[in-house]
């Protein structure tokens, strides 16, 4: 039986999508940076039935325009690895930007996340656009949209090649020949970009998924290098059009959500937070405000237009609970979406094939490693 169409992702960075979300969080403000709170949020997303969580990041503080929001954040890869070890079926995709970071390190980090999660890793390709990030990194500024896109594209190429640089069966443990590795199944990537080169191979064996799932904002990097395009539009039709135009195997629509909660409506909750800071809308994101049933209808509509959604809840501690109680169960009953199955990789949950290493010797199709370990 084919899996239902709509894949469900949720952004769990910070306290929620609203810059003042921390004021309605169910914990003391500083608790945001604690392991307990991270484990709780990841568990809430997993138990709700999401297939994937994403984790925003930057070397710069998250903050809000007026400087009153949270200025603390643990690195997304560290949070992702910790969350992976405290969950069992949830996909986990941190944001990493290769604007300044070394692609060699990014490749190792995401490959390692895939190992520690037994094949549940994704990577949201990010960018560091603020020149302040260059000063924080201590590197020359990468300025202008073209240069930023170039660093994103080249970084992605290097990372993918490094994931492929160990064939699946490179560890041979041949006692007869005294060899642990077969060097003919390890490959120099010999990447030559416009601004740098990388030799390889990776120091990390090929990830369980072959290549962890790559998500990227539509248009940032060549679509054929990605698995999921993150698209948006102010209306479902607009998001659908953006999805068709994206050219990636899958397209997820960005949807901000504020739901009616047991004691307050979404509007009242937003109004409460607007006393502190505005929640600026963006033309590249849908926004839904109202009762859970209305969100189910919106998602049912989107199911025919996009392959998935990434929800951005107003306040995680409040909206995740409503999503879990009233929205996802309804989507599952109506077969619009499904929980990820235990023991499957993120690729499998998303219906994506496991890629062969591009360096694999022609004809010698490598067997896929076991799905569960």
């Amino acid at each position: 039986m084919p899996r239902p169409a709509l894949h469900l992702a949720v952004e769990i960075d910070g306290d929620g999508a609203h810059p003042a979300a921390w004021r309605r969080a169910a914990h003391a403000p500083g608790e945001l940076l604690s392991p307990r709170r991270l484990a709780r949020t990841a568990a809430a997303a997993e138990n709700a039935g999401f297939t994937l969580v994403t984790l925003e990041d930057s070397i710069l503080p998250p903050g809000s325009a007026d400087g009153t929001g949270p200025v603390g954040r643990i690195g997304a890869v560290e949070r992702a690895a910790f969350a992976a070890a405290s969950t069992s079926v949830l996909g986990i995709a941190p944001v990493l930007a290769t604007t300044y970071a070394e692609p060699f390190h990014v490749s190792s980090q995401i490959a390692s996340l895939d190992h520690v999660s037994a094949g549940r890793a994704g990577w949201v390709v990010g960018t560091e656009e603020d020149p302040a990030a260059a000063r924080a990194w201590g590197r020359p500024v990468v300025g202008g949209a073209d240069a930023i896109a170039r660093e994103a594209r080249d970084g992605l190429r290097v990372v993918r090649d490094l994931w492929d640089s160990w064939e699946d069966d490179a560890v041979i443990r041949s006692v007869a020949t005294s060899r642990y590795l077969d060097r003919s199944r390890l490959h120099y990537v010999d990447f030559e970009g416009e601004t740098y080169s990388v030799k390889g191979p990776s120091i990390v064996p090929r990830p369980p998924q072959g290549r962890p799932v790559v998500l990227a904002p539509a248009g940032l990097v060549p679509a054929e290098l990605t698995d999921v395009a993150l698209v948006g539009g102010p209306t479902p039709a607009g998001a659908g059009a953006a999805a068709s135009a994206a050219g990636a195997p899958l397209a997820f629509a960005e949807v901000e959500v504020a739901l009616d909660a047991p004691r307050e409506t979404a509007r009242e909750r937003i109004a409460d937070l607007e006393r502190y800071a505005p929640w600026e809308g963006r033309p590249d994101r849908l926004r839904y405000t109202g009762p859970a049933a209305g969100l189910v209808e919106l998602l049912a509509d989107l199911a025919g237009r996009v392959d998935g959604v990434r929800l951005r809840p107003l306040v995680l501690d409040e909206d995740l609970a409503v999503l879990s109680r009233l929205v996802l169960p309804e989507l599952f009953v109506r077969r619009l979406a499904a929980r990820p199955l235990p023991g499957t990789t993120l690729r499998t949950s998303l219906g994506l094939p496991r890629p062969l290493s591009r360096f694999t010797t022609a004809g010698a199709a490598a067997p896929a490693p076991e799905e569960t370990r």
Binding site: E78, S86, H115, A136, G138, R179, Y180, V198, S202
Partner: protein, 454 residues
Amino acid sequence: MTRTDPHDVPRPDARLHFGVFFQGVNHWTIWSDPSSGSQIDPASFLRVARAAERGLFDAFFLGDGLRLRESEGGVHELDVAGRPDSITQLSALAAATERIGLVSTSNTTFNEPGDLARRLAGLDLLSGGRAGWNVVTTHNAWTGENFRRGGFLDHADRYRRAEEFLSVARAVWNGWAQGAVADSAEARSWSVPGAVGRVRVEGAHFDVDLAPTLPRSAQGHPVIFQAGDSGEGRDFAARNADVVFSAHGTDFDDALAFAEDVRRRLRAAGRAEDALRILPGTEIVIGATEKEAEEKARWVRLHQVTPAVALGIASRLWGFDLSGRDADGPLPAEDPVVAAYEGRFGTRWVDDPRAVVAEWRAKADANGWSLRETVIELGPQRGHVGTPAGLAEKFARFVRHGALDGFNVSPYLVPDGLDDIVELLVPELQERGVYRTAYTGTTLREHLGLAPVA
């Protein structure tokens, strides 16, 4: 065996500290035995970390190597290789362990301080103050081929960059005042005004301006380890480190000489002698009797030093490819070729190949050893072999005489190579009063008995 009188020694109350080093790259880890598990499956890391925690170890330790080692014109095939990014792996272990310290070896040449300090601080927070950082400086151009800047750093500058790197990292870690986050959702802003500082550094190696994004952890900030053996490396440790991970832990006199050298450098740096822990790397082979232990050690050596491994080690010593030779025959007749070392095989293991080969020849002749036996007897090695009681006596002497503070133990089998130590040796040490019987703190700094961060 007679027991040392605990009052007749310089440090009668000293306790031994154990770390476990999950190596993942080298011939010490036996992969050919059926009990040898995966080097990358998270279950292997968890199994070792949990065994160490059961044994009340201070720390679980991961190494770092930013390029796959090469020999004879390609990737080195004979040894285990392929390991996870250490901070990523340790962040996962933080969720699955309770007490044990989590130490990442991370390089100061091919990282940037704003980024690495933040990653380490994240690990420290996620683990409740259990993070450590083993500062290493590998800088060769061959490794640099994996990075944007290539091999940009002079040998002479490796510790200068490391020192400046560390000072930026410390500034990042100390950037938030105590209580920097509002305690109520009604506060004017999330952070207390003025409590979050900025780090501005314009140094010889770094030009950085950033706003730190993390508070201090339960232990202040990560514990600093150092593992370079040169004079510069030791001075760097004396000025900056909390723990030295040395290679001087097999022979008592060598260990004591190293410890005294480090203490002399500590005094010169104006630090107290007990400000630094010395934890040499070692291997420990345990048997019920001395004879059984020796037999087991023989088995271990033969599985580590296969004929091919022996020829590989000899090739690196002689400076040319010996892979076609007979390892069970005599030593190569040729003299070694001494060439500049490119770093393709990690840290160079001998300084003077001619002298070492001369010594090997003399001893091989005297004992009738083959090349492989010579490598086993005289090649790179470290380690202790004995019964639980015998080893406990020996280690008590080491620690009570101030020759070291403990060991960073490398299991020769993964994942269950620690079990003997935890089940057999630790109780003997406890009985002699040189090992803790329960964790008394929650942070790595507390496990090591280090003073709190100022």
